[in-house]
């Protein structure tokens, strides 16, 4: 990607940020609304794991779409730079 493009996009990204600051001027401080509706303590009990077959199916799909796999089924990614 050209640096020029990145710069232009960064700049245009900020326009709305500036208009937000203007829009928010004079509005009272409120608590923040993080969620579309509010609740807490939605948890699930621990229990039996998912059936092996279900995961075996997924494993096949997963390994099929990954860019690289080794003979054990590990995902192939980059070697860490600091090890060299």
């Amino acid at each position: 990607m050209s640096e020029q493009r990145q710069k232009e996009i960064e700049l245009s990204a900020e326009e709305i940020v500036e208009s937000f600051v203007k829009a928010a001027e004079g509005l009272p401080s409120e608590r923040e609304t993080y969620y579309g509706h509010e609740a807490c303590n939605i948890m699930r009990p621990d229990g039996q794991p998912s059936p092996d077959e279900e995961r075996a199916d997924f494993r096949k799909q997963f390994l099929a779409i990954t860019p690289g796999v080794d003979e054990h089924g590990n995902l192939r990614v980059e070697v860490a730079r600091w090890t060299r």
Binding site: Y35, R55, V79
Partner: protein
């Protein structure tokens, strides 16, 4: 030279399912990328399941055991901590705000306890990733820099390991299950953080190495700069990590896909009602309640089940006597057989009976030890074990006959004894024990031998 050492300890919690999906947690036992699903591999569009409640409760319990104030009736967000690393399938790790604050363990202040999820496993030299571990629940314990020597730090970690094992809420320690980041600073130098430590021993070595390295620098008049280093287990040294690591801004936001937790008093009460006493507190109580010495209390409290057994038995038999037997005999036998107290199959009553038999001189301590060994191997009624082992004490006549036999067949030894050699007497006692199949009391044999040989020793 003054030094400050602190820890961030990560420990996997013991659950059947992962934190935000239903994959199993036994990641070490299966081929790479077997315990995976769209959620723990960051497939497009996957959303976390609601948090695993058992993990949440476990973190609260551990915080309580560490003497923390629980953050009650306040919103605890599960946050996204963003950073880019191959083991992190979604580019962020989920980490809760503190669940407990301001605890203490053996003079070391606990700053906070919170929940996290484990990333996958990345092999940086091979460049491979296995997501089996991704999403296993973790508790993170952060201490203040309150330790002042490698030995103190090691002692603390051992205490912490014992406490976590005691809780019964963590995965048994095995390859990578306990990971710790350590920060070390010497007076006049910057704070150095060491990552990638996987055991208590590793922490001790890493700290020793760091102190040496930092001290040498300071003595040369060089500055020790604030940095993050990695511990290399194979070479037992630390290496600098990328500078970028320090400047990283994690851009925390509450995870919009997970509602926050609010720990109410009822939950705290429920957890408190069933939680185990922390080992360091139990140790202190054992000393006070049973009038036993601190070192023996330390041995008994080393394992939760051992201490439980002790307290049951000590209700029926003199606690000091029981304590001595636990330390000198039972623990020795268990260690020899590589067993943990939780593995023993006999019931407390059988041990109580046995100790009563010894205490009342019904059997000798030597016989007691043989029966105890048998009890650990093949649980049963101690009286019957005594019979099965052929250990019922020999009668007076039989014993006298054995004494006579020993004297008769060992004239040279008798001569030595009469000449004043005490070892000779011990040899004869051994002979008599052999002849009676260990079914006699050595103290009684000595008495008889002396009477027979007419020489008071």
């Amino acid at each position: 030279m003054k030094m400050l050492i602190g820890f961030e300890v990560h420990q996997q919690l013991s659950t059947g399912r992962k934190m935000y999906c239903d994959c199993p947690t036994n990641y070490q036992e299966v081929p790479p990328n077997t315990n995976i699903c769209p959620i723990c591999t960051g497939m497009p569009g996957s959303k976390p399941l609601p948090p695993n409640e058992r993990a949440v409760d476990a973190a609260i319990e551990i915080a309580l055991m560490l003497g923390c104030e629980i953050i009650a009736d306040r919103i605890i967000y599960i946050q996204r901590k963003h950073y880019d690393y191959p083991d992190l399938p979604s580019g962020y790790q989920r980490t809760s705000l503190p669940i407990g604050l301001n605890g203490e363990l053996q003079g070391v202040r606990i700053r906070e306890v919170h929940l996290e999820e484990d990333p996958g496993q990345y092999d940086p030299t091979l460049g491979t990733v296995d997501f089996n571990r991704s999403g296993v629940p973790l508790v993170e314990i952060v201490t203040e820099p309150d330790m002042h020597s490698p030995e103190e730090a090691r002692k603390f970690l051992r205490q912490l390991v014992r406490l976590l094992e005691y809780s019964g809420k963590v995965r048994p320690e095995a390859g990578g299950a306990m990971r710790t980041d350590t920060n070390i600073s010497l007076e006049g130098g910057g704070r150095v953080e060491v990552k990638n430590i996987n055991s208590v021993k590793g922490a001790y070595r890493a700290i020793k190495f760091e102190i040496m390295r930092q001290r040498a620098k300071l003595e040369r008049g060089e500055a020790v700069t604030r940095e993050t280093r990695a511990y290399l287990e194979s070479q037992k040294i630390t290496m600098p990590m990328r500078l970028k690591e320090l400047e990283e801004d994690y851009r925390y936001i509450p995870d919009p896909d997970i509602f926050p937790l609010v720990i109410d008093q009822a939950r705290i009460r429920r957890i408190k009602a069933s939680m185990v006493e922390a080992p360091h507190l139990r140790e202190q109580r054992l000393v006070k309640q049973y009038g036993i010495g601190p070192s023996v209390a330390n041995v008994i409290a080393s394992e939760r089940e051992l201490a439980n057994l002790f307290e049951v038995v000590a209700r029926e038999v003199d606690p000091k006597f029981v304590a001595t037997w636990f330390r000198t005999k039972l623990k020795k036998i268990l260690n020899y057989m590589k067993l943990r107290a939780e593995d023993v199959k006999f019931v407390p009553e059988q041990l109580i009976d046995l100790l009563k038999m010894i205490k009342s001189d019904e059997i000798t301590p030597e016989q007691g030890e043989l029966v105890l060994r048998e009890l650990v191997k093949r649980p049963g009624d101690p009286h019957e074990l005594l019979l099965q082992l052929g250990l019922v004490r020999v009668g007076r006549t039989e014993l006298q006959a054995a004494v006579a036999e020993a004297i008769r067949t060992n004239p040279e030894v008798v001569k030595d004894y009469l000449a004043g050699k005490q070892e000779a007497l011990h040899f004869l006692v051994g002979k008599v024990m052999q002849l009676t199949n260990m079914r006699a009391d050595p103290r009684e044999i000595i008495k008889l031998l002396r009477a027979e040989l007419g020489r008071e020793g």
